[in-house]
């Protein structure tokens, strides 16, 4: 027996000597629960891929920051010169001439040229994956050219008033090293370059470090970055699928930040002095969809009744612990052009009942509210909405649905009601076209299956209009129509909370959802 126990004793002694790493202050450990689909920004658009690409690559323009009264620095939706040190725009808004910054090194030492810029913009269009879908409405590869040393000219085929909003986005506007790409598979239309998907070459403040799939993805500081050496030496994206484990690790100092934790963890983090909760106010709305093609939601009175029956503030407080602001329109409040002038839907249960009676449902009706299982915000939103709708006579059953089935359900409009939010870039033209036009029904983004000829025409006009006042007037009219037609019930402005250790400083939150780690450090 003693012989058998001896090996156990040895193992125990070894374990007793294990010293946990207390955390190198120059290494940032980020817990993520999903792996990136790759780091080729022109192909991979999932969040993890974009977070890494944000720091591996640069774009021609970058979002500006501003300082709030309390001293917090936050991102804005305005932009400033980045790899392009300046640009000019023709009077008709169709010719952009970019002056490229001189002496910008890639990670392999090559210096950025106008060729790289033109090549990169042409590449995203030639590949024609998701990052290209708006840019291709503005220009094509034949209209992008090197027009001088460190100068690139882009001719737009249409007015494209949001052109720079596209170039600021990492998936669309990242600048790659032309020679590196051509030496490693080149560019082939509608074909993924598997090498570049896993081997980045940019000018960003971080380079690609060690990578162990399913375990760890490292970004290592690039000290020669033209934008300045980052304050951190390294960022370790540690893949840990269970969020509860991530939180435990954070409390033990093994992780410095976790992303979008569930509500119970958020509750604990908010009262933990060793942690901070950063809430990213996004350009997105948590929405209770009711596909307009399915009765009884094909009647606008029923949809209006649903909105009247809901108390957005109660839902937002319950689902986000007060971090989110209630919706006051069909647009997210941070979307340029948003107005709450047409919001009349403060909670009125009697009004809801009256509208239902007018629509032929004096005794209400039965329905189902679905959400994707595991998403606590949507679950709570659905449950609270269920209770509120019941007061108006709408008897809803709440259903959790597995993610793949949920995605199919909302794309096909087969679920009577469902809660989902989408994040958008600060491009109102894109937002309106995707969520409210007939051409985007279902998989295109119009999950409400809403169709209105006037909105379709206005959306087209908006895409062609450059004048600011005229654009504002068009967006105003669209929002008025949407508030009348009420394609969906709008709940609250979506937030993405991060929990970070209190030692983490200068992490700037951008409404676009981008993460730029160059300024971040640990105190």
């Amino acid at each position: 027996m003693t012989q058998l126990l001896r090996p156990l004793a040895i193992v125990a002694a070894l374990l007793w000597g294990v010293a946990l790493t207390q955390g190198d202050p120059k290494v940032f450990n980020f817990g993520v629960y999903f792996e990136p689909s790759g780091v080729d920004p022109h192909i991979s658009t999932d969040a993890a891929a974009t977070w890494m690409a944000n720091n591996l690559y640069d774009t021609l323009v970058r979002y500006e920051t501003t300082t709030l009264p309390d001293g917090t620095v936050v991102g804005t939706t305005n932009f400033k010169p980045w790899l392009a040190e300046s640009w000019t725009v023709s009077d008709d808004g169709r010719t952009f001439v970019f002056r490229i910054r001189d002496g910008v090194p890639f990670h392999n030492g090559d210096i950025l040229t106008a060729d790289d810029v033109a090549f990169s913009l042409q590449r995203v269009l030639t590949l024609n994956f998701a990052p290209a879908q708006l840019l291709r409405n503005c220009t094509n590869p034949d209209h992008i050219a090197v027009s001088g040393p460190l100068e690139v000219t882009v001719e737009l085929m249409t007015a494209c008033p949001f052109f720079l909003n596209l170039l600021v986005q990492t998936p669309t506007g990242s600048i790659l090293n032309k020679a590196f790409v051509e030496a490693n598979g080149g560019v082939e239309a509608e074909t993924i370059n598997e090498f570049l998907r896993n081997n980045p070459m940019g000018t960003g403040p971080f380079t690609w470090g060690e990578r162990e799939p399913g375990v760890l993805y490292q970004l290592v500081a690039f000290p020669d970055a033209w934008s300045g050496a980052p304050k951190l030496d390294r960022i370790d994206f540690r893949f840990i699928s269970d969020l509860a484990s991530q939180y435990v690790l954070m409390q033990q100092g093994a992780l410095d930040a976790i992303y979008n934790p569930p509500i119970d963890i958020l509750e604990q983090a908010l009262v933990n002095p060793a942690l901070k909760v950063l809430d990213q106010q996004t350009i997105g709305l948590q929405t209770l969809y009711m596909p307009n093609k399915n009765p009884p939601f094909d009647d606008p009175r029923v949809r209006q009744a649903v909105q009247y029956a809901l108390d957005q503030e109660e839902i937002a407080d319950a689902a986000t612990l007060g971090l989110a602001s209630p919706a006051r329109g069909a647009f997210p409040s941070l979307l340029p052009g948003f107005t709450d002038a047409y919001w009349v839907y403060d909670r009125d249960v009697e009004k809801a009942k009256q509208l239902l009676a007018e629509a032929g449902f004096p005794n209400g009706f039965d329905t189902t509210i679905s959400y994707n299982s595991g998403n606590a915000q949507r679950e709570i939103s659905a449950v609270v909405a269920q209770a509120q709708l019941a007061e108006a006579g709408i008897r809803a059953e709440v259903q959790a649905v597995a993610w793949p089935t949920f995605v199919e359900g909302f794309r096909e409009g087969t679920m009577p009601m469902f809660v989902v939010s989408g994040l958008a870039a600060p491009v109102p033209d894109q937002f309106i076209a995707q969520y409210f036009t007939t051409g985007s029904l279902g998989p295109g983004g119009n999950y409400a299956y809403f169709s209105n000829a006037e909105v379709d025409a206005l959306a087209e006009r908006l895409a062609e209009t450059v004048d600011g006042d005229e654009r504002a007037a068009i967006m105003d009219r669209i929002q008025a129509i949407l508030m009348d037609e009420m394609p969906s019930a709008f709940l609250y402005n979506a937030v993405l909370p991060y929990v970070v250790r209190a030692v983490v400083q200068d992490w700037i939150i951008y409404p676009s959802g981008d993460w730029f780690f160059a300024t971040v450090y640990k105190d």
């Binding site: 027996m1 294990v18 792996e35 509608e190 399913g214 840990i240 699928s241 033990q252 995605v407």
Partner: protein
């Protein structure tokens, strides 16, 4: 023996084809669109989705998709992961050692703990120790392994500090040892990195205990039954009556005979564990084949799901073959035509 082994290997090949077909069909029946999931459900133009579908060969008729895939499998190519873009064979080769290392650690722990306790239970048959061990066995057999894992993490790890955080195979900041075997314990020793070795062992303890818990019960009960059978045999009585010490009779003779079926069952259990550690790997963020499996299913990564299923099936079949051959060597009474 050789003809028998060859026949079994042919059966494995047939198994691969059969499992690939069944898995292919089952995965295709799951609601959802991998292209839509690749884009996270975000709105994408129809032509761009179609482009990705073409890239992945998903625009072809199902029989064509299957035959292309099978052709690749028979050439050792399991395709490319739709979610990560990496060759699936590379991913599985990378991750398999993590699953094997955890499984072997769990089995070793189960044997180290279970064997002595099985002998103890047999030698004190129907006594208090025997009853206690029977209860312990029942409880550990009935305990869901993922629940045990969570208890180990939160109670024993977080609150009592007995185990390090469940952050995978190494603690934060410990560099991954240069890959030789893929077993972090062995690779760290080969690299002379004692820090990494200790961390790898420490990180493995809680998940290994979780894996071992159910197997310990099997070992205790199997060995107890085997020992009781041997202890009732004439040679044991003869040995004792000739004056041999209990130690010599029980351990040198009875245990040696009693342990054979236990080892056989444990070996087969290894096959199950290699494919059944999914929940343990998920709870402990252990980057093995099980966690890869879960992620692939969630992403509707068809190729990865089929690839992981094939790997587990082939490993299980080969382990069974190995056990059968081993038994033939150990026990001369066994003969395969």
């Amino acid at each position: 023996m050789i003809p028998y082994v060859l026949r079994r290997l042919v059966a494995v090949a047939v198994l691969v084809v059969g499992i690939s077909l069944v898995t292919f069909a089952l995965v295709r029946m799951v609601p959802g669109d991998p292209v839509a999931l690749y884009y996270g459900g975000m709105p994408v133009s129809a032509d761009i989705e179609q482009s990705l579908r073409r890239q992945w060969g998903l625009d072809q008729p199902l029989p064509v998709q299957y035959l292309r895939y099978l052709g690749g499998v028979l050439r050792g190519n399991l395709g490319v992961s739709l979610a990560t873009g990496r060759p699936i064979m590379d991913d599985l080769v990378r991750r398999f050692p993590a699953t094997v290392e955890l499984t072997l650690a769990g089995v070793l722990l189960a044997l180290v703990v279970g064997l002595p306790l099985g002998v103890l239970a047999a030698l004190h048959r129907n006594g208090p120790v025997d009853h206690l061990l029977r209860i312990v066995s029942l409880v550990s057999l009935g305990m869901p392994n993922f629940w045990l894992g969570l208890v180990l993490i939160f109670v024993f790890g977080y609150h009592l500090g007995w185990f390090p955080p469940a952050e995978g195979r190494l603690a934060a900041g410990i560099p991954i040892p240069e890959r030789v075997t893929g077993f972090y314990t062995i690779d760290s020793l080969l690299a002379g990195d004692l820090g990494a070795f200790r961390s790898a062992l420490a990180q493995m303890m809680a998940p290994a205990i979780t894996v071992a818990m159910g197997l310990v019960a099997v070992v205790i009960r199997m060995l107890r039954a085997g020992m009781l059978e041997e202890l009732g045999k004439d040679y044991v009585r003869t040995g004792r009556s000739k004056g041999l010490s209990p130690r010599a009779v029980y351990y040198k003779h009875a245990l040696r005979n009693a342990i054979i079926p236990t080892i056989t069952v444990v070996s087969i259990q290894i096959g199950y564990l290699l494919g059944g550690n999914v929940l343990v790997e998920a709870v402990f963020a252990w980057p093995g084949v099980g966690l890869y499996y879960i992620n692939a299913i969630n992403a509707l990564d068809y190729n990865a799901v089929i690839g992981a299923t094939l790997l587990i099936a082939v490993v299980f079949a080969l382990i069974n073959l190995f056990v059968d051959v081993l038994n033939a060597f150990i026990d001369p009474r066994i003969h395969y035509a």
